[in-house]
């Protein structure tokens, strides 16, 4: 959030109330104001793709506003017509007719001579897991598999704690480099990877997933992602070569424990 920009826009908009602009000017000013807020008022800046979509929606809404009332639409039409027809706007019209093509030409020019932008990346962050995976030659059915230690949380908290501690050791020897001390995906290797590692503190990551999903992603890593997740920029290793099944389940326990999240459990329905 860039409060200053937002504040400035709000102040200007408030000031405009006293100027009583006509409907056309009003809509144009609102459009520009909202654009400024979206473009400069959000920190970090939102991607252009989203900005475009947002501004489209805003345009739609403003058009709806202007045309919703008969007198307002007439006001806009009159203003537009007057601009084209009335002699007093001759200079403004002439300027617009000259400047607009120049602006378009400039846009074309800068578009053609600008620095090349890397291709947009859109990958599926949470691809659906396969039904089953083979883990070190053993078939694991992801639909039914459960964390074998999860039950201990209720039945034997001491043993559970021991497993969490085991997971802690695994985490700090393997995962901390990328996922970070605070599990925010900000380990000291994180700046070298794109996309950056998952942020487990974000309630939209592990809290949305079942433990079996994490097992799959940990065991199979980036090479195990399905084709829909290409480009495989994920740097996540396939930990099945380093960690035992037990260690993976333990580190899953630890990740949930540290972030104070709960895994999603499959709901009993039907």
């Amino acid at each position: 959030m860039n409060i200053l920009v937002i504040l400035a826009v709000v102040v200007v908009m408030f000031g405009l109330r006293f100027l009583k602009p006509n409907a056309l000017a009003w809509a144009a000013i609102w459009w520009i104001g909202v654009y400024l807020v979206f473009r400069y008022g959000v920190d970090p800046p939102m991607p252009t793709s989203i900005l475009g979509m947002f501004m489209f929606i805003i345009s739609l809404v403003l058009v709806a506003y202007v045309t919703a009332a008969n007198d307002r639409i007439r006001e806009v039409a009159d203003t537009l017509i007057a601009f084209f027809v009335n002699p007093e706007y001759k200079v403004a019209l002439g300027l617009t007719l000259v400047l607009l093509p120049l602006l378009v030409a400039f846009q074309v020019y800068s578009g053609m001579s600008g620095q090349p932008q890397a291709p947009l990346l859109a990958r599926t962050i949470h691809p659906p897991p396969p039904g089953s995976i083979s883990y070190q030659g053993k078939q694991i059915d992801l639909l039914t598999v459960h964390n074998p230690f999860r039950g201990l949380e209720q039945s034997d908290p001491t043993v559970f704690e021991a497993h969490v501690a085991g997971g802690r050791a695994v985490y700090y020897q393997n995962c901390v480099y990328c996922h970070g001390d605070n599990m925010e995906g900000d380990g000291f290797f994180a700046h070298g990877f794109n996309p950056i590692p998952a942020n487990f503190q974000d309630p939209t990551t592990i809290a949305m997933l079942q433990e079996s999903y994490l097992f799959w992603r940990i065991a199979k890593g980036a090479p195990g992602l399905p084709s829909e997740s290409t480009p495989w920029l994920s740097a996540m290793p396939a930990w099945e070569t380093f960690l035992s099944e037990e260690e993976i389940w333990e580190v899953i326990l630890f990740i949930y424990d540290y972030t104070e999240q709960r895994p999603r459990v499959s709901e009993e329905v039907h």
């Binding site: 890397a118 700090y172 380990g187 290797f189 920029l233």
Partner: protein, 529 residues
């Protein structure tokens, strides 16, 4: 009154210590101890029992896995981490506003917790509240009895506000740099390649590197001019970095300005390197001169913890890249800073490397090396091979330069364990100068071996760097994931025609609208107007 006299005395001692060895330092502190013995320690703030207990709980949860529950630095992690986690029981702290050999102030400890140390395992802790940081600080002070004693009462040195910076101050700073023999460790150009750099060890006998002064963003103690000032006036206790008392005082800031001038504000890592078009084939013998005038792109290098030989702390942390294409060849210039040119020994992308070498066989040495990586088939679209030398489905081209033999080999990898020589179709040249490697690759642009590098396309590109000094070889190395190489268009289509066309079309549209509107409403409107 007493406190002032102590600080004055300490200051004197400090100036004497710069020339003394570590043993002399201990001697000095003992003598200081004798001198200040009579001073009471009643002003030492150790916090309340509750605060320390609260700190301990945070410590157990967030710190103990590296620094150990007893504060001595976990032996397992300390072999993995470079630099090693601080041993709190030794009461030796690097970043202080207090004189060399003294304990840090409370604020110093809190600052270190808050800001962490960039490019080390110590992260910043913005998630901890001020209260939590304070409690943690109190708890950390319990690891050493020194904090409770007379030394606990510290007096921060006065840190003056930085004066203005000028070209003269930088020039003079360079002289100060030379006079004080900074180059012995930090190298002539400040790249951390001084002649004694490879031998440096910290107080616990772990190897330690002299800071690369050309990467200010990676300074452990912060990158502002005040931070630099503080670092060399107070020294970094526990490391070979002593404190310097440079006179006259202006020269202190001149030195700061020189160091500051060696690097830009931030790393500014890039994502796309553009291969610029030239008409003639690139002449390797011309060396770096061919790439004059091309803006380099810096890519971060991180460790590889996936394949056996995991490199948790690669010796190189960034590589600078430039690229050129001619109609028949494509060339890349890679530059990175290295403490020492390791020209003797073995290296190779598939040399086996163990995960951890407890007692490395020092009779075998390893040479520096570098590699560029492309997807073998760049037409495969969005799908890229796995960034560690490809996978079974999609292979990766590896352009490998062995800097011991100064030869380049072209490999094709379909997995880190399946790397095969593809051909000697690469040319390279390498030079090492003032702590910086410059390696130039050149290859023919041909269609049949997918090395066409079509104009106007984005080609995925990745890099690997091996630091022989850190015994890196095979999968043990620093690397990047995929970035992009943009192959510039030789003859850019002139924007004039489309510009004119669009502009003209807009003009026509405007005129047309005006005409239509006027024809339809003209009469009534003029009546109205």
């Amino acid at each position: 009154m007493t406190t002032i006299s102590v600080s004055a005395m300490t200051k004197k001692l400090v100036s004497a210590m710069t020339t003394l060895s570590v043993s002399a330092m201990i001697l000095a502190s003992t003598s200081m101890f004798v001198l200040v013995e009579t001073v009471s320690a009643q002003n030492v703030d150790l916090g309340t029992e509750a605060q320390r207990e609260a700190g301990r709980q945070i410590y157990e949860l967030k710190c103990a896995h590296c620094h150990a529950s007893d504060g001595a630095g976990d032996p397992v992690m300390s072999t993995l981490l470079r630099p090693a986690p601080r041993d709190f029981t030794a009461s030796t702290f690097k970043f202080r506003t207090t004189a060399s050999g003294e304990l840090p102030s409370d604020e110093d400890i809190k600052q270190s917790i808050r800001n962490g140390m960039p490019y080390t395992a110590m992260p910043p802790w913005p998630s901890l509240s001020e209260k939590e940081v304070t409690n943690l600080m109190y708890f950390i002070k319990t690891f050493s009895t020194d904090f409770a004693g007379v030394f606990g009462e510290v007096v921060p040195l006065e840190m003056p506000d930085p004066p203005g910076m000028s070209d003269e101050s930088i020039t003079r700073g360079r002289e100060v740099y030379v006079e004080n023999q900074c180059a012995d460790c930090h190298g002539d150009q400040g790249r951390g390649d001084g002649k004694s750099a490879p031998t440096l060890e910290d107080s616990w006998n772990y190897p330690i590197r002299a800071a690369d002064l050309t990467k200010r963003w990676a300074f452990r103690g912060g990158s502002s001019r005040s931070d630099i000032f503080r670092t060399f006036t107070t020294g970094l206790d526990g490391s070979p970095m002593p404190s310097f008392d440079i006179q006259p005082e202006e020269d202190q800031w001149n030195l700061v300005d020189y160091v500051y001038s060696l690097s830009r504000d931030n790393a500014g890592y890039g994502t796309v390197v553009t291969a610029h078009t030239v008409s003639d084939p690139i002449d390797l013998s011309a060396g770096a001169a061919s790439f004059d005038g091309i803006k380099p792109v810096l890519f971060p290098i991180v460790g590889q913890i996936i394949e056996p030989g995991r490199a948790f702390f690669p010796g190189v942390n960034a590589v600078e890249v430039r690229a050129l294409v001619s109609p028949s060849t494509v060339s890349f210039m890679l530059q990175w800073n290295d403490m020492s040119a390791d020209r003797a020994g073995k290296t190779g992308p598939s040399l086996p490397a163990p995960d951890r070498e407890a007692e490395p066989d020092t009779s075998i040495t390893y040479a520096d090396a570098v590699a560029i990586q492309f997807p073998t088939d760049v037409s495969a679209g969005a799908e890229q091979p796995y960034f560690i030398f490809g996978d079974r489905k999609l292979s990766a081209d590896i352009w490998f330069a062995d800097l011991a033999t100064s030869s380049a080999t072209h490999y094709v990898g379909s997995g880190a364990d399946r790397i095969e020589v593809s051909g000697p179709d690469l040319a390279m040249s390498a030079t090492f100068d003032a702590g910086q490697w410059t390696v130039i690759f050149s290859r023919a642009r041909t269609e049949e071996n997918h090395a066409a590098f079509k104009e106007g396309t984005f080609v995925p590109i990745a890099f690997s760097v091996w630091d022989g000094f850190s015994r890196e070889r095979g999968s043990r190395r620093g690397l990047t994931t995929w970035y992009y190489l943009y192959v510039d268009v030789a003859e850019k289509p002139s924007p004039v025609l489309p510009m004119m066309a669009w502009g003209f079309a807009t003009l026509l549209l405007g005129l047309g609208t005006t005409f239509l509107v006027r024809r339809k409403f003209g009469n009534t409107e003029s009546d109205r107007g």
